[in-house]
Symmetry: C2
Subunit: 375 residues, 2 copies
């Protein structure tokens, strides 16, 4: 990503700020800072004015390093929280922002961080905070080709992680050990890191968020594996369910129902279709098969710098500070299969990362979709 | 941890709530929920009344699973955010909490979550939110023997992770690949997961938060490795810096200065000593050696369910919603060496997890402290 990419992003940001009546943004969320400046380090801030001026604040130790990655007009190093507050105040003055509307990340900032960033020593009295979550999502929701390439690379790392995880599934192996092999393989395939890895086995596949434990896999267990590698700041999302040994007829039937619904949903994806439409296809098929009571959470969400970002289905979006999603646009990336069938004694789930194209879609995650392991 | 442990914790919680004038707590932070109920799953809540009544809300799919781990009087499953809000409202009614003071986790809740939990359909009008961060920290700051054992196990996992990481340090190996070996070894040593792993090499050891990248190690590089495994919900914190090949005299000198300061600080630790005192010992020795300008962030913090928790040094604590720390008590656990010497072209850091005892201290992380690798 070159200077032109960031210049374009900044121009679009300024245009959206004008539309939203925002005079400045004060960002601390790494994903948003990365998108607009090229650097999303921890414990840092970016101020962006409607006129397109960009100021960064980073730990004093990091000024030179940030200079290698970030695009900005001004940079300041600070020593601690008090220094950060003073640096923010300094830029408000420097940029002549003494009143108006200031965009803050309400879906990211804790109460404590909010208090700090709006401290009277930081923010001028006349400046009123408002939520910039929808603006940042509007900016990031359509990916450029370079972003798609990075998500494709992340999807490749996810496939490699899944291959290593599935290979590790054996009686006596812990959920955590399966996660270990997946994470290692993703890093060796180019991931700089990953969001939480989920691995659950047996009865634990029946819960909504199966983080790995020391539970050992036993013969006949279903094993659910959900991976989210990060490659050059971009993520992918991949989930598979496999069976150690022989599955029951009931498990195979549920798996088939789920996979059919997921695949039919993916088939519907193209520019112009709404998230509501495809969620209804997915949910409708599961309901029809009698699984309406076995779901929890949204079936679909966006993928990008974050593995879970806009677009989110309307109800979910509302509680996460997002606007209800518009019709899907070309080059939006979504994960299909975020929620499984949770049947109590076990559950099944299949999730893929999919790019919306003008006439259809492109599935980026390719690990085979099958319950039974081929040995 | 048996029922008695959680009964005792709840009794102490109720006593602190009385002192603080709190009528109920509404918790969603996994670490706090785990401490008081034995279960800290994602996307769940706990309401705790001053009278010691405990209600849980979890995804509908998770009601049975939560029943295996959690201690509570009531449990409800919900379908989505609206269901969660209604479940909260139901418990307020059930417990007769219609007015008074409600403790919420201000250092954890985003603006969006705050809006959801205090939605008029959830929280009765007469109930006023206030921050319960200091109360929860006061509860958790002194560990019982069972907690110390778990932190000791986590420290053992950290040592195993460090051994694997250091073994992986070779020219041509990426920072991310070093992290992979550490993470895998920690999981195989009993970790269910870990907080962010930091691995930085060469010039990247000079920045404050060196997350791993695809940068390859080259001969003569310093490599800084910071690990935070989680074993049965408890964490440890371990950092080492090693040199690939031959270090410079300047690097050796800085390392010695840092290690001397860290060890002298650890020597001072015992019940009754203040965090301020030991921070001043550490910082004082680094300042004296001319490194006052090479620091960023607090040198010391607490360790427990979270790898970074109370006690925090006073200034840092203020901005994280914590009270300034009291004198250290027996069975508080702290990490010593949270901030390194960041010298620009490189940095050095050594961090250990230490239990405060009545007459001194006990260092839980034991990986050798030496810059040069023994091959």
């Amino acid at each position: 990503m070159d200077r032109t990419t960031f210049k374009k992003r900044l121009d679009r940001c300024c245009s959206l700020m004008k539309d939203a009546g925002l005079d400045a943004l004060l960002l601390t969320k790494p994903a948003n800072m990365f998108y607009l400046t090229g650097d999303g380090r921890l414990c840092a801030f970016a101020i962006i004015t409607r006129g397109g001026r960009v100021a960064l604040g980073v730990p004093r130790t990091d000024v030179e390093d940030a200079g290698w990655f970030a695009h900005f007009d001004h940079i300041a190093g600070f020593d601690d929280e008090v220094g950060m507050i003073h640096a923010i105040a300094h830029y408000f003055k420097e940029f002549g922002v003494t009143q108006g509307s200031l965009g803050l990340e309400y879906s990211f900032l804790t109460q404590s961080m909010m208090t700090m960033l709006t401290h009277p020593h930081a923010k001028p009295d006349g400046v009123t905070p408002t939520d910039c979550t929808p603006l940042m999502s509007a900016l990031r929701i359509v990916k450029d080709d370079c972003e798609i390439d990075l998500i494709r690379h992340a999807a490749k790392a996810a496939d490699a992680g899944m291959a290593a995880a599935v290979k590790a599934v054996k009686p006596g192996v812990t959920e955590s050990a399966v996660a270990a092999e997946a994470e290692r393989a993703m890093r060796l395939e180019g991931a700089d890191g990953f969001w939480k890895t989920y691995v659950s086995a047996g009865e634990r596949t029946g819960i909504a968020h199966g983080l790995p434990t020391q539970r050992k896999i036993t013969p006949g267990d279903l094993v659910m594996i959900d991976l989210h590698p990060v490659v050059n700041a971009y993520s992918a999302d991949l989930c598979r369910t496999v069976c150690e040994g022989s599955s029951s007829v009931e498990q195979e039937k549920a798996y088939e129902v789920y996979l059919d619904a997921q695949q039919a949903t993916i088939e519907k994806i193209k520019a112009g279709v709404t998230v509501k439409d495809i969620e209804e296809t997915f949910r409708g098929m599961l309901n029809m098969a009698g699984h309406g009571e076995h779901l929890f959470g949204p079936l679909i969400h966006g993928v990008g710098i974050e593995f879970e970002e806009a677009p989110l289905p309307a109800g979910h979006a509302f509680f996460h500070g997002e606007k209800a999603p518009e019709a899907l646009k070309e080059n939006t990336v979504i994960a299909v299969g975020n929620c499984g069938l949770y049947l109590g004694p076990w559950g099944v789930r299949v999730e893929d990362t999919v790019v919306v194209t003008r006439d259809g879609h492109m599935v980026l995650t390719n690990f085979p979709r099958q319950l039974l392991l081929e040995l």
